[in-house]
Structures are given as C-alpha cells and as structure tokens.
Point group: C2
Amino acid sequence: MAEIMAAAIQLFKDKGYHATSMQDIADAVGLQKGSLYHYISSKEDLLILIIREALAQYISNLEEIARSNLPPRDKFAEAVRHHLKGIATNLGMLTVFLREAHALTPEQRAIVDRETRRYNELVEGIYQEGVAQGVFRPLNPKLVCRTVLGACNWFYRWYRPDGPLSLEEMADFFVDVLFRGIEARPAASETAPPGSGGQSAAGGSDTSAGA
Amino acid sequence: MAEIMAAAIQLFKDKGYHATSMQDIADAVGLQKGSLYHYISSKEDLLILIIREALAQYISNLEEIARSNLPPRDKFAEAVRHHLKGIATNLGMLTVFLREAHALTPEQRAIVDRETRRYNELVEGIYQEGVAQGVFRPLNPKLVCRTVLGACNWFYRWYRPDGPLSLEEMADFFVDVLFRGIEARPAASETAPPGSGGQSAAGGSDTSAGA
C-alpha cells in the first residue's frame, strides 16, 4: 500500500491528478489494473488518503510543539521550521495536497477543511499565547496565521533540494522575517509604512487589521 | 474572444483545467464545438493565453510602480497592495495561473517562467533600492521576494469578497507585517527569535540568509 501511495504521489505531482490514470499507477508499481483495485477502490480514494496522511503528520507534530513548555517565540520558530521541513521532506505529497485539493468531493473537502482548520487553530493558539505574554503585537490572529502559513506554503513552489541555500538557512530566514513582522516592540516611526493604520509608537495597539 | 476566455477561466477555476473539455467551453458560450475552433486551436492555447494575460497586466502595473518617484517604502507598500488587489479582482484568472501552470508544455512554461522572473526582479529591485537607502535590512533579495510574494500569492486560496474584512484592511495588514519583517531598525534583542542567525542589535548586518 505504501508503495502504491508513493507511486501515486509521484505521478500526481509530475502529471497532475486529472491526467494520471489508474493504469498509470498500476504500471508504476508493476501490478495489473485489476489487482490494484484490491488495494484501493478509486483514484479519488487515493487522493484523499494522500492528503489525509500529509495532514495527520503535520497536525501531530504541531500539536507536540504547541503542548511543549517552550516560550511562545520558540514555539513560533519551531512551528515555522516544522512547516518548512515538512514541505521539503514531503514535497511530492504536499504538492499534491496544496495543488489538487480542489479535485476532492464536497464530503472529502469538508474533512480536509476541518483538519486544515485544526492546524490553523494550533498556529493561532501559539500566536495568541505570545500576545498574552507581550511577545507578539495584538493583530487579527486569522490574518497572522494566513500570512505566516501562506509565505511558508509557497515554499513548495520554489524549494529545490539542490539549491544554493540549505533548508536550515532558509528556515532561519523565514523565522527571522516573519517573527519581526509580528513581534511586539516600538515601531521605528520614521520607517512606518504609509497607510498602515496609524499604529502607536508604543506598539501593541495596532488594530488596523483587528478582528 | 473575451467571452470565451471568461468562460474558460470560470470553468478551469471551478472544475480544474484537466476536467474541463472544449465541449464544456463551447456550451458555456453557446457555440458549436466546431465554431469554437475558429477562435482557438486547443485548450492548451487557451490556458497559455489566460496565464499570459494575467502576467502582462501584473507586470505592466508593477513596472509603473517601480519607475515612479515614490520612496522605496511606498513602492514596497504599493507593490504589495497591487499584488493583492490583482488577485482579488482577477481571482478566477489567478487561480488558474497559480494552480494550473504545471499543465503547460515545456515551451509555454519557459515563457511563463521568464515573465514570472521579470515580475520577481521588479520586486527585488524595489527592495534593493530600499536597502541602498537604508530603509530595508540587507537580506537575500530572492528570499525576501519569495517570502513577500508567497504570503501574497496564498491570498488566492482564502480570499472571499464577502468576508468580514475589506480588501483595503487586509492589504494594510500585509503591508504592515511584511514591511516590519524586512525594515532596517534596531532589533528588540530580548524578543529576537532563537537561532535566527545572531543578527547584530544595530540591524542591517543580518547575513543569516545572505546570498
């Protein structure tokens, strides 16, 4: 089964989900198409299996980070690193998930949406713990989560294992830039972006994107 | 032709590119399938047309911002706003572009890659102008561009015109958080993220993600 999933991930990633047939998958694992149906009932089933497996790994690792005794800023850094490493090490699975989720049935999509929400809530929880401790500025938690995870998710589009920078260097960069973007500290008023909502120089009272 | 493109965008967005047939497109615009071939030679042609039109609009608007006399921080803010507004107002076209680009032929993909590179270079140029003027920290320009545009690109996945926040409010949020992430100013050392490369408290010397 693991072999079938690995083959399907590779094919969905390279050819796209719709362009891949059950025959392609059977060929890739050296099975007759009829035998393949012993293991899975349809291509749709395989897609939802792949997506749920990707999400389950992601969620359980993040739950561990969220439950740990680390201070919020370390939790945030670990969450970003975990997210990027997860994309880098499961590039095929994540590409299929991030690109092909629209091919799911409404029922399957509801399951995936629920699990994605759980993931986002964990990230929001880490952020809000940091706000409570004065580490992060109080902003709209949903938007914080979408900005941070959006920047990280896009990683799947351009990350190449043989690129000039190591995964560690890139993760350091993301943690640094994203952390600075939301941390609580006095704004450098002379460099405040125009129209950014007139946040006070004391920080922590920016409500321009408030809930 | 505009009508055919609009219909194709809607279908590619809702059903996905591979699941949409030329018959579906003909039906949507009330043409015989044979007549549709007067206008376009294949579904592939239509996809590349849609993608190139999306990119051409994006690039020419951004060129205008980059060429303007605005200070770098305003250029940066305008570039982020322009990117998000472009996604919001061309949601269908951008969804097709961002999700279906892998369905292009290698030759088509080379064209799109070149135009995407041009877009990224404009954003990097704005950032580097700001570095030269001391507004932004010197970081790896490619990574800055990927972080900023990645966060913005992900917008196409969750933006809903009828959501609780206006486009303006969300754009303000992105400008604020992303600008702070890269602006030059003293780091609040007590809130510096762990393992972020030991940047100096004076800012501007962070090379943790340097080229």
